[in-house]
Symmetry: none
Subunit: 218 residues, 4 copies
DNA sequence: AATGAATGAGAGTTCATTCAT
DNA sequence: AATGAATGAACTCTCATTCAT
């Protein structure tokens, strides 16, 4: 999975000339990206708690002091990780939904499938998702808000089109939480086989859709 | 909530003679119990990461070295915490289910209600549940297995009585995971108000039951 | 108080021609002066230890690397600070002495008053004086020598005019040290009120003069 | 110079039996004393800023972590240093004063002589005295208060016996500060020869006494 | 069985200095 | 001459664990 898109915007020169300044800015941006990717890899391998500054910078191939040219603190970086990835996930899911057949269930199937797909392509995200809540609460909070809001918008969309069995806002909110919860638990239950990450068996999505369709979608 | 029941089986003397040996064994057991309770309280207050051996032993009123007469390591204790509490939860839920009206939905309502009830009575368990996955993975694994097995048994029970809409084992397994996931997310979403732990509003259980009934129960 | 005068002699061009060379030399000199002033301000605010190269250069509006075009090291700059200010103090005191009534005691009164006056006008010098001994020993040494020499010359002056009760050189040297010591301690004891720097109460100078007159001046 | 007297009181067993407990407490006290002495030596050699925990513990022959069994922080130790020594100085001076001839000048001579004596026996105290103000402000503050109060009491004592030329409290306070200042400056000026610490030449005390007698003592 | 002093690896962070640009 | 990213040694402090008592 590519992360660059999710990185903080760099102040790229707009004029095309490869001036000295541009080159330098590019190098800076490259270092930041390397630290970011190194952090993701390190968290993926050792967990948040194990992602020490020393390990991250070693993985990135820079001196430990360099870290603090780019991030205020270890926590600062950690808190940025999940939101950046979360945005990637959001874009990925949206793309799948947009190209799905035009029906509420097809879109929902696209959502859950895209989620599994995303995780399967970036196995280290599992650790991030499950640990983020504890070790990088700030980042996790933003991640959760983003994912929840994303799902709420989807539900509103279907509601406006009259595709939902339920109309009460409270009930829809409860259902939304249940869907979010389910996709996380299901991925944990079915995407791990012998410590390796894989796509879940087909019946998982089918059963999920059957369950959700009966309860939520017309 | 009482914890003692959930402690690892101690080698209690069964014969009533208050011999010196018995007394000593009792004293030993008491120390273990105090460490255990101190650990729960400390994790509840400071989180897993903040539950240092020093803090736990201080809370228990023993010297830090004493700790290692009872537990292999800090991790060892941490891993025992959640399963012990998990068993408490299991017993609490079972009691509520046994006294519930004789219908699948009444029992399910008892399950989710008992869960919220349990958490509400022991607010520090939230920290344990949400952190346990990360900081005490071994213990969390056993906790999860226990809760899952408990729910699976419940589903089998209803299936045998013909109370389920679905009969495929795979589908039932998926549904089970979804229910487990939901109760956890819903508690996080609705049981926190301004940092304090409370029972969720009534509509949460109602909406949950409506959703589940439509999809799962006859 | 003006600082520029106290700067290390710059190689100023004396001829008036505004050649390009001159301009460049002026610019260079200006940068050095800005660094110098920034250093004084920074030490005044944060103390010697808090006067990091980063803070000084930021205050001066130049890049950190630029610093090393002008000073060998951080210590090098720090060591130059106090002598520069010390020279200012010397000039200030001399001016007051020259305009004083023509008597030994009037001159001594002018000396101590001018000292308090100087400190009161530049409160951040307190920090420099009290920290300088430790953090910029080289600079402090030169400062001390300068002040001592200044006082010794004053004593010689009075001696030659027959204004002193004592004539033994050793005794005069001891007395000189005592006067220097006294003015420093008295300023610390009486010029701080609630963290703010002020002129000492009148009785301080009066008592000082009474003491000194009885012991030293005819 | 012995430091032990100035150490925080240890909980010594009062009964004479060399029990196990006693032994242990003694060992603990010994470690604390070694750290304390190591700190004094290290500050004497490297200055306060150079007295890192690593250097102190290495000098004391203990592991770095051990430090924190005895002191809250590096600063904590540093702040204790000067008051402890200050108390030693106080006792030393008092002893000399008590055995001095019964006259105000004899006592004052005893005071200044004892001060020089003390410094001469513990050369590393010079660095402490001159740096303490900056690097261990809390400790220095207490030191200064102690020394000042000690001198004020002496002045009061002489005043009550009618041995002073001046009687105004303000004037006495100013004089007190001048004496304190003088002994410090004089020691710096006359006790260092080629980087080594020695007793000052005889004429220093004589000149000091002549000066002070003329101004202050009857 | 209980103690708690001692350990030392490892953590996050700072900052004077260098040097390619 | 000016830049500022990169460096890495040094810092203070924590804490699980050991072991002599």
């Amino acid at each position: 999975m590519d992360i660059p898109d999710s990185l903080p915007a760099s102040n790229r020169d707009v004029d095309g000339g490869p001036s000295r300044r541009l080159k330098r800015a590019e190098k800076v941006e490259a270092t930041r990206a390397r630290l970011f990717e190194a952090a993701i890899a390190t968290v993926g391998e050792y967990g948040y708690a194990g992602a020490s500054v020393a390990r991250v910078t070693e993985h990135a191939g820079v001196a430990s002091g360099t870290f603090y040219n780019y991030f205020e603190s270890r926590q600062d970086l950690l808190d940025q990780l999940l939101p950046a990835i979360s945005r990637q996930l959001h874009l990925h899911v949206r793309e799948r939904v947009l190209t799905a057949e035009d029906s509420a269930t097809a879109r929902e199937r696209a959502r859950i499938s895209a989620f599994f797909e995303f995780l399967g392509d970036a196995p280290h995200l599992f650790k991030m998702l499950s640990e983020g809540r504890v070790q990088a609460p700030e980042g996790f909070h933003r991640h959760l808000q983003q994912q929840t809001e994303s799902y709420r918008r989807a539900m509103r969309y279907e509601l406006e089109r009259g595709n939902l069995r339920v109309t009460d806002p409270d009930e829809i909110e409860v259902a939304t939480q249940m869907l979010l919860a389910s996709r996380e638990y299901l991925s944990e239950r079915f995407c791990f086989v012998d410590g390796r990450v894989t796509r879940p068996p087909d019946f998982v999505v089918d059963a999920y859709m059957k369950f959700v369709s009966a309860a939520l979608f017309k």
